[in-house]
Symmetry: C2
Subunit: 344 residues, 2 copies
DNA sequence: CTGTTAGCGCGTTCAA
DNA sequence: TTGAACGCGCTAACAG
């Protein structure tokens, strides 16, 4: 309320302008703004900051970055063939975590969605505009590997989410899908389940494979029967159709494990509409529950993903690389949280 | 399969390097890469592109941007006090649309979440790093206006999402919340409803106000009784508590309009558990349905948001401003889609 | 058709 | 404690 509004003069204010207004050199202004050692006298300091305020000076990021030879930016690449590539809660959470960590350390986040047909023209790959890249990929293994190759070819440090890759400039951050799935399976076995369905998408996918392995290991050890049901695109329609077929062929299992919440909810809908009681006749569990599970009725037994934390960790690893030239850890597995509901 | 892998030499390759390898000047390389008028001979063109390929040259974005005096970047600012600022499907969709439009035109998207305590240190505000900014805000009106002021003070063109603001450098893109809400209300009135509850969050919020007005206008005209129920933070717990209190005080209405899907689903859960039949005894409707509605059982009557399209349009307006110095439209209202389900 | 010159805004290096 | 040159990588303008 005290001074006049520090309105930016239209058409950029440079260091030089500030220097002129303060009666010093641009170098002095730079020193003041960056809090350099060479102590500027309290007097000039005051004059400079006043001028900065009055002129509404904002440093020109491109100039500084060119000079410093660092972009002060992290790239986030999402490979997904559907244009709405932020539909996935997991992806969104990762990005939020990454973005916040970056901002906290003065880095910008450059977000880019990329379709497999698009890869060649992706700005993050075609130009030098970030100091490192974090990527989360979907699609076939071939498509994914093709992108990772393009990524590593840039020479930038790369962090892959929910994927494994063996390369010194690639860091892999995943959640403990296998462990979480095992825990779900053990929970069901402890409840006395002898025959399980596991709902899986048609497409092979590293994290999903890990979940399957976790379940399978427990089943083998416990002598429990495990039937895998391939549910096409994971959508409601495909899942219900696949489940119906499986029920026809194999009869009612003791429990159905959804490879993710979406398939689990679809299964629950199907069972309830078929007049099968959950969890009395069949238990149902999900995976990666975000808000979703809370809307299901009754509440879905699931495993909570540390997606936001994964994003944070990915960012931290990139920052560590920027400082020291190498990742603190090349393979990071974050724990998941088993969340019992009322469906199992 | 033909040539050696074009692997980037570690530690940047500049135009000069390419020029050297091709036996020309850096200027010629620049001309080739940017397809300039001054026709380079087919011969040199070939030599240059070969050198570019072989050395794995990637242009240095910062240098080009400094020279061109344009960031070739669009900023996306999300004001939200919760760190997981991408939890909201609406926001995510807007960002996806914006990001894709930007990429299609060679622009980068710089994403930044900002908390109200944080505003001063936000990179997008403190530096010149983008050519324009798109913002989506939550929180109190005071907080939101404070941010808009900071934004316009940068002198950059600004696009606000789901907000109104009167300033020639500000473009406002909203969806037709009022119209959508009216349609829902008319639908219920046509079904014979005489008494309505409308579920609203405690916090005032422009889009939510528009929905309320849309409903109110229809009710007034039709002589229908409308009772507003304030549901705190829109969460399940608050909503159920508020609804229970309202039912106690006013008895059963003919229909309950959720200000959004979340509150609607919470209401449905409450009714079903209380043994009230939906939609036989009470109809229920939502708003802004994304995937969510599909999981509810039975399917939720709601209004679909054109969020992705809003993002695209916001980007298009910024691009238009970059080209012509002004927005094509300063106030844009995108239509919503009424989506009847089985709950009303 | 190709090379030369100059400068975008900033920060490092040295000299005053 | 402060100032003057120089260059980061790139391109607009003009010269050859």
């Amino acid at each position: 309320m005290a001074t006049a509004p520090p309105r930016a003069v239209r058409g950029k204010v440079t260091l030089k302008d500030v220097a002129l207004a303060a009666g010093v050199t641009s170098m002095t202004v730079s020193n003041v703004l960056n809090g350099r050692q060479g102590q500027v006298s309290a007097d000039t300091h005051a004059r400079v900051t006043a001028a900065v305020e009055q002129l509404g000076y904002r440093p020109h990021a491109m100039a500084r970055r060119l000079r410093e030879q660092r972009s002060m930016a992290i790239g986030m690449l999402v490979l997904d063939d559907v244009p709405e590539f932020l539909n996935d809660h997991f992806t969104s959470q990762v990005i939020a975590g990454l973005s916040n960590i970056a901002a906290d350390h003065g880095y910008s986040l450059v977000l880019q969605g990329v379709r497999s047909s698009n890869v060649e023209s992706a700005g993050l790959l075609a130009q030098i505009e970030t100091d490192g890249v974090c990527a989360i990929l979907s699609g076939t293994q071939k498509q994914r590997h093709r992108l990772v190759d393009r990524l590593t070819a840039t020479g930038l440090p790369v962090v892959m989410i929910q994927e494994r890759y063996d390369d010194p400039t690639v860091c892999c951050v995943t959640q403990d899908d296998r462990g979480g799935a095992s825990e779900v399976a053990r929970h069901l076995v402890a409840k006395g389940a002898k025959r399980l369905f596991m709902l899986l998408p048609a497409e092979e996918w590293p994290a999903m494979n890990a979940r399957e392995q976790g379940v399978r290991a427990v089943c083998r050890k416990a002598g429990v029967d495990l039937i895998r049901v391939r549910c096409g695109d994971e959508g409601i329609t495909d899942t219900r159709a696949a489940l119906a077929a499986a029920l026809d062929e194999h009869g009612l299992p003791d429990a159905i494990l959804g490879g993710n919440d979406r398939m689990a909810v679809a299964a629950m809908m199907h069972l309830i509409e078929a007049g099968i009681r959950v969890p009395d006749q069949v238990r149902v569990t999900g995976f990666n529950g975000f808000e979703l599970g809370q809307f299901g009725l009754p509440k879905l037994t699931t495993v909570r993903s540390p997606a936001y934390h994964i994003g944070q960790r990915a960012g931290a690893e990139l920052l560590s690389y920027f400082q020291s030239g190498s990742f603190a850890d090349r393979e990071i597995v974050l724990p998941v949280e088993f969340s019992p509901g009322q469906t199992s």
